[in-house]
Amino acid sequence: MTRLVSGGRIDRTRPLRFSFDGRGYTGFAGDTLASALLANGVHLVGRSFKYHRPRGILSAGVEEPNALVEIDRGAGRREPNVRATVVPLVEGLVARSQNRWPSLRFDLAAVNGLASAILGAGFYYKTFLGPGRDAWHKRWEPLIRRMAGLGRAPEAPDPDRYANRYTHAEVLVVGAGPAGIAAALQAAASGGRVMLCDEQAEMGGSLLAEPVAWPQLAADLATLRANPRVTLLPRTTAFSYGLQNFVALTQVVEAAGGLRERLWQVRAGRVVLATGALERPIPFSGNDRPGVMLADAARHYARRWGVLPGRNVAALVAHDTGYAAAFALQDAGAAIATVLDMRATAPDDLLAEAAQRGIRVLPGHGIAATRGRQRITGLLAAPRGADGAPDATRATPIACDLLLMAGGWTPSVHLFSQARGQLRWDAGLDAFLPDAAREAVTCVGACAGEGLTPGLPVTQLAAGSARARKAFVDQQNDVTTRDIALAVQEGFRSIEHVKRYTTNGMATDQGKTSNMLGLAVVAGELGRSVPEVGLTTFRAPYTPISFGAFAGRHRGLLFDPIRSAPLHEWATQQGAVFEPVGQWQRARYFPQAGEDMHAAVTRECLAVRNAVGIFDASTLGKIEVTGPDAALFLERCYVNAWQKLGIGRCRYGLLLREDGFILDDGVVGRIAADRFHVTTTTGGAARVLHMLEDYRQTEFPELRVWLTSTTEHWGVIALQGPRARDVLAPLVEGLDWTAFPHMAVAECRVAGVAARLFRVSFSGELGFEVNIPASQAPAVWQALLHAGAAHGITPYGTEAMHVLRAEKGFIIVGQETDGTVTPDDAGLTWLIGKAKPDFIGKRSLSRPEMQRADRRQLVGLVPRDGTTLPDEGAQLIASAGSRVAEGHVTSAYRSAALGHPIALGLLASGRARLGETVLATSLTGPPIPLEVVAPVFLDPKGDRLRG
C-alpha cells in the first residue's frame, strides 16, 4: 500500500470497495479512481491508442491523456474513455482497462510497437492515397479497426435521464480555485445572481493541495453556500463559450432517481474565467512509461489524497514548481533520488533547500532514456548538449519508481479563445495570455498568468527532442516529436496542417498537454518563434461531453413533438396504421381482420367511389384572413382572382414563391365580405402563414388585413362519396341545400355543433368538409358514423386519399411539385387571374425559361401491360438504354376503380406527347413501358362531384 497513514482530504473512516479489471481494491471516500488505484500501487492502467504501449496516470485532472478506462454501471450504463483522474470513487465502482488483448499486462497488439516506424505521421493518408489503395480496404482497414480505437461503445440504450436548464446570472465564475472563489465572493457581495462552477467534485482547485488553506477554503465555501443568490455547481464543466456570454456547462448529477447529467445553458451578464493553468510534460525518450507523472499532480496525490505515488522519486524539472513537488513528496515520506534541472542553473534558494534536504540536483541535465516495462524502474540522466539534446554518451543510470516532470505552466485560455478573445504571446512567462476580449469576460488567476513565474522556455524544453526515440508529445494519439519533425520535413508549415497530418492534439483531451509542446517542436524545426507559428483553434467542447447531455430529454417519444389530430384516439382504437406527416401522425389506413395495406386501401377507395367515406382532414393548415382589404390582400398574394368571389363560395387557390414556382395550394372560402377561410397543405401551414404575414407587414402595410392561424382550432371531417349528402343532411341545421353547389361554404350546425361546412372534393366524388371546433370533432365524427352506418360509411386514411385524388389528377404539393414546378407545368394555368396586375411570382412566370415548350409537364401514365406498377421517383426515358432522363414518376398507385395501376409524372413537353410510350426505370427489373395520357383518369368532366 502506498496510502499515507494520515493527511489528505479523504475520509479514512469510509472505505469504498471497487474493482479494476476484475480485481477488487479498496479506496476511501474523497478518492478519485486514479488516486485509489495509485493508493493500491496500480500504475499500469491502459494501453495507448496506436502502439498499445503500457500507460499509467500522468495527471490528476481533466488533462489526463492516458488513464482512460471503461466504467461499467450495468446494462446501458457502460461508458468508455473515462478519465480515471476525474471519476469520484463510489462503492462498488467497476472499471476496466481498454485497448488491450488478451490482457492489460500482456497485450499482443503491442507488437505494433515494432511497426511504429511504419505507423508514423501521415500513415493513414499515405496508405489511403498511395498504390496500396486496394490493400487499404482489404487488409489495412480491417486490421486497424480491430487493433485501434479506444473503448467499446455501449450497445444497450442508456436508461438514465439527462436534463437541461436555461439560466441567467449576473456573474458566472468558471473555476473554483483561489481566484475563482475570490471572484465569486466579490460578485456575491454586489447582490446579483452568481454561479460558480468547477469541474471537480470538490471545490478549491490548487488549494486542495495546500492543507494550511483548508480552513479558509471551508469558510469561504460556506459563505457562498449560505447566500441564496449564489449557485454552486461542482462536477460541472464549462465546455463551450458562445456569443453574448452564452456559456454551456455540463453537470454530473447522478441523482438516485436516474437523472445523470444536466446541461446548463447560461446567459451571463459577466463571465469570470478562473480556469487555472496546466503543467507541461517534457518530451524525452520513454516519457510515456507508467510512473512518469506531472510533478504537480504527484504533489496533489500526496497532499490531497494521502497517496505516495512512488517511494523512490526522480524529477526532471524545467520550472521552479518542480522543486516544490519534490519537496512535498519527500515530506510525505518518499526518497528523492535526484532532481535533474534542464536549466543551466537553478535559483539559489531552491538549491540551498535541496542541499539542506539532502537532495542531489544535477543542473543542465536531461533524460536520454527510461527503463521499465510496465512501470518505470530507472532512467539515464545525461548532460544536455549544445542543441539541448541529452548527450547519451555521458549518461548516468538512476533507479526510480516515479519520475516527475515539471515542464512549466500553460494557462488554460480555451474558453477565452472560444469567446473570440484575442491571445497575446507573453515572452516573459513563455505563454499565450488573454488579451483583448470581445465579450464581457474577465480572466483571473493563473489563466491570466497571475502568480505564474517563468521557467525554461517551451522551445528549449523541446530543443533536441526531435532526435529522441519515442519522445511522446501527444500521449493519447501516440504522436512523437519525430512524427512532428517528419511532418515539417515533408513540407507542412502551418500548425493547423501539422496538427491534422500528425493528429497531434486531436484526441479527446484536445491537446491539453500536447499543443504547446507540438508547437515548440514545429517552431524548432522551422527556426521560428512560437508566436510566429501560431496556435491552433480552441474548439468546444473543452472536455468530452456525453451524447446524453446534448440530447437531454429529446429522445424516444420526446425526440420531437408528435402532433395528433382530434380523432387520433379514435383511430388508434380502430387499429389504424399511422404515418408521419411532418410532426403529425396521420391514420394511413384502417385494416380489418386479415387485410394487408393493399386490401384495406382498395376497400376504402371503393367505398368512397360507391358509397361514402369519412376522413380526418384536421391537419390541413387554416388561416383566417380578415379585414376590409382581405380580398385585395389575397389577390396580391395568390395567383387567383378573389375580389369577385361571392360570399359563401370557395375557390382552389394557388400560391407561388417570388421565383414563380408553386409553394402551396388549398381551398379558400369567403365567409363574409371581409373574412376568408384559407386552407393550406398540412406541411405548409406554418410556412404559408409566415410568408403571408411577412408580406402583410413589409410589402402591404397599408392594407387593413389580419391573419390568424386557426389550424388547431378547427377539426375537419371530410365526407366523400355519392352518399355523402344522404349521411350529412339529416344532421345539418340552418343550411339552404338548394343554394349549396360544389365549391360552396356555409356556416350552419352539424350534429348540433356550430360548423363551417364546405362542399369540396379532393376525391372527385360529391364531397363535404365539416369544420367544427377541435374539441367537438370526436362527437361530430361519432354522429356522422352513426348516421352513415346505413349507407356503408367507411373510414379511410391518407393512402386511400392519395389514390382517390390521383385518379382525378389532383396534385399534392411536395409530391407532384418539388420547388421547380410552375402553374403551367402542373396544368394549372387556368387558375391564374389573367387581368390581375400582379401577384407573387407573376413577373418570374414571364421569363423565357419559364415559358419553354419543353418544360416538364404533368401527365398521366398507364402501364402498357396493364399490371406493372412503376416506382415513385423512377426516371422517365424515351427508349431502353437511354441515359437521358426526360422526367420522373411523381405518384403511382394501384387503382381499384380503374382496374389497373396509374401514375402521375412530370415529362418534358408532356402535354404534346399524349399517346406516346415512355419507359420508367426500375431498380429491380427492366424499364416499364408506360402510355402517356391526360392526368385525369376518372370522370374528367366532373359530373360526379357536382352530383
Partner: protein
C-alpha cells in the same frame, strides 16, 4: 413541490387591431409583455381575449380560437426552474414579474407563458402539441429535487 394541472376549456378570441380601436372593446389594454386578468398582450396590435369580446369601433380582426389552445397551470416555488428546463427566458422576478406574458418556447413547442401571480404560471399550447408538452413537463417535475 410544483403542481401541474390542466385548465378547464378556454374561451378565447384573438384580437388584432390598432390600439385605439382595441381600446373600444371596453377592456383595459395590458402593457406590452403583460396580461390583465382577461387580456393577454401577444404582440404589437395583437391580444388574446379570455372573455366575451365586445364590438370594436373601427377596423379590427376578431377570430374565435377557443380550441386552438390547451391550458396548463404550474403552481409552486420551483415552477420557474421547471419552466427553465425548456424555456430559455429569464423568469426571475426582476425580469419576468407577476402579470408578465409572452410567446416563447418550451422544448420544441411554441407556448404562451403567462405569470398571473408569483407562484402561478399558465401555459397555453397548441392543442396538438399538448401531449408532448405534458409528457415533457411531467418528466421535468419528476426530476425536481423534493422540497
Amino acid at each position: 413541490m410544483v403542481e401541474l394541472r390542466e385548465m378547464p376549456p378556454l374561451r378565447c378570441t384573438l384580437l388584432q387591431a390598432a390600439a385605439e380601436v382595441a381600446a373600444t372593446l371596453g377592456h383595459a389594454l395590458p402593457a406590452p409583455l403583460t396580461a390583465t386578468g382577461t387580456m393577454l398582450w401577444l404582440g404589437p396590435e395583437e391580444w388574446l381575449l379570455l372573455d366575451e369580446p365586445g364590438v370594436p369601433q373601427g377596423p379590427a380582426s376578431l377570430v374565435d380560437v377557443s380550441d386552438r389552445y390547451r391550458g396548463l397551470v404550474l403552481h409552486g416555488a420551483g415552477a420557474a426552474e421547471a419552466l427553465n428546463e425548456g424555456c430559455p427566458l429569464d423568469l426571475a422576478d426582476a425580469a419576468f414579474p407577476p402579470s408578465s406574458c409572452t410567446r416563447t418556447l418550451f422544448g420544441k413547442a411554441e407556448i404562451i407563458l403567462w405569470r398571473p401571480a408569483a407562484n402561478e404560471w399558465r401555459i397555453l399550447v397548441g392543442r396538438s402539441f399538448a401531449p408532448y408538452l405534458l409528457a415533457l413537463l411531467r418528466e421535468v417535475l419528476d426530476d425536481l429535487p423534493p422540497g
